[in-house]
Symmetry: C2
Subunit: 345 residues, 2 copies
DNA sequence: CTGAAAGCGCTAACAC
DNA sequence: GTGTTAGCGCTTTCAG
């Protein structure tokens, strides 16, 4: 049998006050006389009373809930972000609804509905497609939205991200400076703006160094290890195989290294590889993955702070104009791209 | 200004029916006449109506929310678990509240309060301490609880875990069979039952092979890389340094390898290392971490299925007796413990 | 400072 | 089949 929860009335009865006074003790302690307050507080403890968030939400229209929509929790780039956001939310007394779409647009839509139903106060979206309108759907329902390092082309939404184009440029440029001219790019999902922007950087670096872009060296890894394995096997079998690979994220870079090793190629001697993200394992001595560091903790902090600002200013008469915050990246040169150990800011 | 949400009454008005009929269309479509239903459904779509989970929860006492309490999202052993649980929850139309305690008991308590307030239907706890009574607190409030691979000594709660003792035994035994007699054990948090059970396995393996336990070889890594770095530096400086290390989880094993490498020791030639969990990176060709595999996906699936069973049988007159499900583990022998490549079930 | 009344949006029981 | 009446537990007026 379901337990009957203790309500505000039970507390009021036992404390011998009206239930409004109990409500005041919980929400507005300062206006209640000290003596009454102490007694009510004691009864609350005795009865182990917790105010029902549902009932409260019904009346205040705030659920004290934020949500995070991500494409794939198993990408090691995300956990640190989750940690930071969850922590800041807890500080504010908010809980975190985690939505993992598995990169499935249908799932994304399902989650948008569920988030609307749960009436979350705000959402951080870290998986928008280039043509997504998720943000609009939520905003229409009065839910605050911050886009996280991914954004649709047409948008007028708050956005926090890193300099993906600059990072792509830096990585590619470094490989060129190391003498590589035949550099492949492994892209992420076709609709991910992050991957698109990193590719733009790659193209600009080649162009700046008067290296023509060989479109056949740009392959789709789709953020999935098996796919990367397939396309990089193809790539490395070629007569004119690339001497270096820039992968749109670290997970794909690691998968590419795995494939290279299995094909009998040594990294970095036969093949230089640079990733993007700087996931925690990248700096492990056994791995030493060269990569573009995108300080995801700061990014997460910026996003969460912005979101809470929006939530707290919800009653503001006119909306805050869309914020756009782009954080810098830094090249982390380690073992997998050969050459000396140095970092470029 | 906060948007006024469209309510069931708005829909009823526009569709020209009573609001109860709208409620029926949403919850009990079959009892509404097809024609009426179609029209109502159309209005729902036009108005983009979403039933308020808060209002519904107030009356049904179910929030369609489950929660997962974990100690540290950044441990790569967890994301797969989160993925599985989130997926199964979504299938049932439930959302997932993620609580990350950072191994802080205060945070754990804070989260218990928040979970009570949000009136989650159920909770999977993957961070109980040996002396925790979290499960009791929630159960008293009518919230279903499943313990995940960690459990207090005194408990009468549903539990899903792996054979930690057996895994510890298998790992240690393997090292002994490889000729090691001086085997260190790096423990996790002092109150984690997982680490405790793995240690029991370690002790039994030594005992079965007539190797006396050297207590100074059992050190506390506390699941934190810096701490592991500190204690393993100590360990490896010793005159009689161990020739092998069994670490209570993979993250600590990787940190120990890092330390060994930095001390100029080669793994596995100078030092054999086995971990526990089989996190995804362990099988990467650059890492090749020997470890005890604990199929966390199956485990997560068992836990989630059990939890939903409990939630769905909430009205059952007598409680289901505490379930205890222990899944087997398997030894994954790779590079870091030396020797041949073979796996033991 | 405290109490009484109203109502948030919905479902559950019962009428019609 | 459909409409009516309560009431879930709380906050918000507004009186005392």
């Amino acid at each position: 049998m379901r337990k009957k929860n203790v309500t505000i009335k039970d507390v009021a009865l036992k404390a011998g006050v009206s239930f409004k006074t109990v409500s005041n003790v919980v929400n507005n302690p300062s206006i209640v006389k000290l003596f009454t307050r102490k007694r009510v507080l004691q009864v609350i403890r005795d009865l182990d009373y917790r105010p029902s968030a549902a009932a409260r939400a019904l009346v205040t229209h705030s659920r004290r809930l934020i949500s995070l929509i991500i494409s794939d929790v198993t990408n090691p780039a995300y956990p640190e972000m989750i940690e930071v956001i969850a922590w800041l939310a807890r500080q504010k007394g908010f809980m975190l609804l985690l939505c993992n779409t598995g990169r499935d647009p249908d799932e994304e839509n399902n989650y948008l509905d569920l988030i609307s139903e749960q009436q979350a106060d705000g959402v951080i979206i870290a998986c928008s497609n280039i043509d997504s309108n998720s943000a609009d759907i939520l905003t229409k329902r009065g839910i605050k939205v911050v886009l996280f390092n991914r954004r649709p082309f047409k948008y007028s939404v708050h956005y926090v991200g890193v300099d993906n184009e600059g990072g792509g440029y830096a990585a590619t440029n470094h490989l060129i400076k190391m003498g590589h001219r035949h550099i492949a790019f492994i892209r992420g999902a076709i609709k991910a703006s992050t991957s698109f922007e990193r590719e733009q950087g790659y193209r600009r670096a080649l162009s700046d160094n008067s290296i023509p872009v060989d479109e056949s060296l740009i392959v789709l890894g789709d953020y999935r290890a098996e796919e990367v394995s397939r396309v990089s096997t193809e790539l490395l079998k070629r007569e004119d195989r690339p001497s270096a690979i820039f992968a749109a994220n670290d997970v794909m870079a690691l998968a590419a290294i795995d494939t290279a090793n299995q094909s009998g190629l040594r990294v970095p001697e036969d093949l230089a590889i640079i990733g993007f993200d700087d996931i925690p394992i990248a700096s492990n001595s056994m791995v030493g993955l060269s990569t573009v560091r995108s300080n995801i903790r700061s990014l997460a902090e910026e996003a969460a702070k912005l979101l809470f600002e929006l939530i707290e200013n919800a009653e503001h008469p006119y909306p805050i104009p869309p914020v756009e915050k782009i954080l810098p990246v830094s090249l982390q040169i380690r073992r997998t791209c050969g050459g000396s150990i140095y970092n470029i800011e």
